[in-house]
Amino acid sequence: MSTARDGGSVSAAAGRKRSPTLIVGLILVGIHVAVALLTLVWTPYEPSDTSGSRLEAPSWEHPAGTDRLGRDLLTQIMIGSRIALAVGSGAIGIGALIGVTFGLLAAFATRLLDDALAALLDILIAFPTLLLAMLVVAAQGGASLGSAVLALGIAISAIVARLTRIVSKRVLSQDYITASRTSGTSWPAVVFRHVLPNIWPTLVVNFALQFGLAVIAEASLSYLGLGTPPPNASWGRLLLEAQGTVLTAPVGAIAPGIALVMLVLGMNFVADGLRDVGDPTRRRTR
């Protein structure tokens, strides 16, 4: 949810410039945010209500049908929205905090330390997220929402750190950094006044992209049983449960799939839109 808010403020700062992609993206993400908030106070049925008949086709009572335990699928998908947004926000939050910190450290480090950090990041990025998730689950003694968020957060932080390192180095080599330092700006002030604001647009776009990927990854982890455990409905787990009956009751797989695609596509649109409105220097030419 934090990323959606960031998207809003950046687009507001862009003023006159409007990006249709950004607006469509914000609408798609906004629907999910609204649904997720709604589930906190109301859902069509109780999530654990098994009063419906099993594997029912869509009807007025159950717009997305029921699962093999007779639970309302729409309710499950709506709660899945909440889980997906929580996982995305949590993973991005962890990834941003660790990634930006280490990326900046590497950009300022001596050459030796920088090379060491860069190599470490390359190893982390090459490390399969799946394996990482299994290790985290093992370390925590069981799969949970937290273990999925932590594993994805660590994986994202490596990508964010590498990006931060590269973009910061480019900013640090600019004349305005030297110019600012000639007037007596200290390094910490250079980071907060010049480096962070100048790398921020690039990072926000990347956060939006990673958010979408994190949602997909969480669905994959849950599908494999490494993510959100029952009774919490994750889209990935809904897909897993629908697998056996996909030929007889295809809605069980299609409906959570559509929800997943909507959110991920929305976040990708937001990322593209933010890239379009970007920084104030690009507003002039458009």
Partner: protein
């Protein structure tokens, strides 16, 4: 009277390559020194060495005494308070020397706020705004309030260089280093900025280190001149003397080139 800036056999090298070789010169408070030479002659490296801001893997040796403090080999915590207070720099390309994402009023305000904080004062927002406005008026920027709220890309080249000058002034430096401040500007703007620079240095009693490659431009604002060629100071002395009787063949070339250019201009007129 002790010199404000004393450079003694300054050598700047990267790896085995010597960019500046044993350059020495002194600038008294209020004096004006020109550093002239073609690109790659080590002018800008000398300026950066004076500020203790050489890029990584470029090292200096010798001695640079700025306002009585040794710069060569000094740690960052000695250099940070020295920068801005002892000397400030105006760069060649004002578009890249200003942060593209920060409104220019804020960029001029930063050194003001920092100086106040170091003196243990706290400036109210209104005072900062008034001081920025005053600085913008001093560098003859039209509509100071509008300019203040603009981003660098929304200003013209001349306006940007005026902002850069205001930024340097806001530090109240004893020495102003101008590194090719007019090279990126067209000729009419160039004359305006040179006039402004001349006035500001006089009004504030600042010393000036003016770096350039164009002999007539440099000669028009300074009293003393150092001619650099491939990192070596080949000639040094008062401007008049150097123009009248250049002793080194390279200086002679520069003077001749300027004369030929003048003659060509007059011939076509």
């Amino acid at each position: 009277m002790s010199a404000l800036l004393s450079v003694q056999s300054l050598t700047v090298r990267t790896g085995a390559l010597e960019l500046v070789s044993k350059v020495s010169f002194e600038i008294e408070p209020g004096a004006r020194m020109g550093l002239i030479g073609e690109s790659g002659s080590g002018k800008s490296m000398t300026a950066l060495a004076v500020m203790g801001l050489l890029p990584a893997r470029v090292h200096s040796s010798g001695s640079v005494l700025l306002d009585g403090k040794e710069v060569v080999g000094a740690p960052e915590r000695t250099l940070v308070p020295l920068r801005g207070n002892a000397a400030a720099v105006v760069f060649q390309e004002p578009l890249t020397a200003l942060d593209p994402l920060m409104k220019v009023g804020r960029q001029v305000a930063e050194p003001l706020i920092r100086r106040a904080r170091r003196n243990g004062e706290k400036l109210a927002r209104r005072e900062v705004r008034r001081e920025v406005r005053r600085l913008f008026e001093e560098v003859s920027l039209p509509e100071p309030d509008r300019v203040s709220h603009s981003y660098p890309h929304q200003l013209s080249g001349g306006q940007r260089q005026r902002v850069a000058l205001a930024m340097a002034l806001s530090c109240r430096p004893k020495l102003l280093i101008a590194d090719e401040p007019t090279t990126a500007l067209d000729v009419t703007i160039q004359a305006e900025i040179l006039g402004l620079l001349d006035r500001l240095v006089r009004d504030h009693g600042m010393a000036l280190l003016f770096i350039g490659h164009d002999l007539p431009v440099v000669a028009s604002v300074v009293d003393q001149m150092t001619v650099l060629r491939q990192g070596v100071a080949v000639e040094q002395g008062p401007v008049g003397q150097i123009l009248r009787e250049p002793r080194h063949a390279y200086t002679q070339e520069l003077v001749d080139a300027a004369r030929t250019f003048d003659a060509a201009l007059e011939g076509s007129a």
